[in-house]
Symmetry: C2
Subunit: 205 residues, 2 copies
């Protein structure tokens, strides 16, 4: 097998995953057919099975490449800040950028939760969890600036912040005037930060 063959194989595989991703997030797992996936990838139905053993195998490959939670890890890793507020704001900004503007990326997560009962979530989450812990470790030096909230709840709330924003955007975003959406994300981050920091209260040392 030459390198060209490997390149072709990889390219076709990539095309299949890209095609399946689009169809899955647009129609759901059972709503997207192997024939549609093949057609969008530019090959015949039978050709798919040279790359994947089954439809579910394609879904898992799509999850590994596009699962939204996975975008959180690298963002948490590179986020920096002189203050804890700056650290959070930078992390939020990086995650927001990584997830992209369209909230359609959430659909993959929805499909997983509904049509697969969240089977693959624990496996994927274990990849992210250590990164979350590393990020949370940075809080120690600012412990006196944080309200007495358990660190895991703090992180859970931070991740939840994105669901809060993107879910409401998905549900009622199209009904809101543009000027109200402009700074909504900043407002959400602001409320969260004000909610976890003691800033403004009397801090005795």
């Amino acid at each position: 097998m030459t390198e060209d063959d490997l390149g072709r194989r990889g390219h076709t595989r990539t095309e299949i995953i890209a095609s399946a991703y689009q169809l899955f997030i647009q129609r759901g797992y059972h709503g997207a057919s192997m024939r549609q996936i093949a057609q969008n990838a530019g090959i015949a139905l039978g050709g798919i099975y040279n790359h994947f053993a089954s439809k579910e195998a394609i879904f898992i490959a799509v999850m590994i490449d596009h699962y939204p939670l996975m975008a959180i890890a690298p963002a948490l890793q590179v986020a920096q800040g002189q203050t804890i507020e700056e650290l959070f704001r930078n992390a939020a900004l990086l995650i927001d950028q990584a997830l992209g503007q369209s909230p359609d990326f959430l659909n993959l997560m929805f499909i997983e939760l509904v049509e697969f009962h969240g089977q693959h979530v624990p496996q994927l989450f274990e990849t992210v969890y250590p990164k979350v812990l590393l990020f949370a470790q940075q809080f120690e030096k600012w412990q006196n600036e944080l309200r007495p909230v358990p660190i895991p709840i703090l992180m859970r709330g931070f991740i939840g912040l994105f669901f809060s924003y993107f879910m409401t955007d998905k549900l009622i975003g199209s009904l809101l005037p543009v000027e109200m959406k402009q700074d909504a994300f900043d407002c959400f981050v602001d409320i969260y930060l004000h909610g976890i920091l003691v800033k403004g209260e009397a801090v005795t040392e």
Copy 2:
């Protein structure tokens, strides 16, 4: 047509909706078949079409009866409090109770967003929106206790709070130790309230 007939008809219809609801949230819209819905409802396939014109008509009926956002409206309507903090806490508690313990209720929303591209959301949301506005009107008397956040963002954040909690519960809830889940919801409400109130800061009059 006698009242008995109406009662039977209504009962069968209710059975179909209940059966469809369970199957939809467990397998998704395209993953649940009309034959399964009929079987769980205790009738033959053909019998369904005496009550519904199509599969989608069943889905819409299920949405009207079980759409999670609809549970928010009555809770906001009866929520009361001597302080704005109490008002929010009571509303949060009522909504939490109305939604129930199992976060499976969210699945219906996911299916709608993915497999129907959120077609029915605006119609359902218009039912809830006036109630949200009425709730928000109560804030006027406590305006000086609120940080300068636009009221719509405040309400969007309040609704988002539930997504924040239930989505993270659904995703990683099973991985968390029980003692960490115990007060998580209270903590989330607490962070939100601390985030929107000026309490603790210098309030000049």
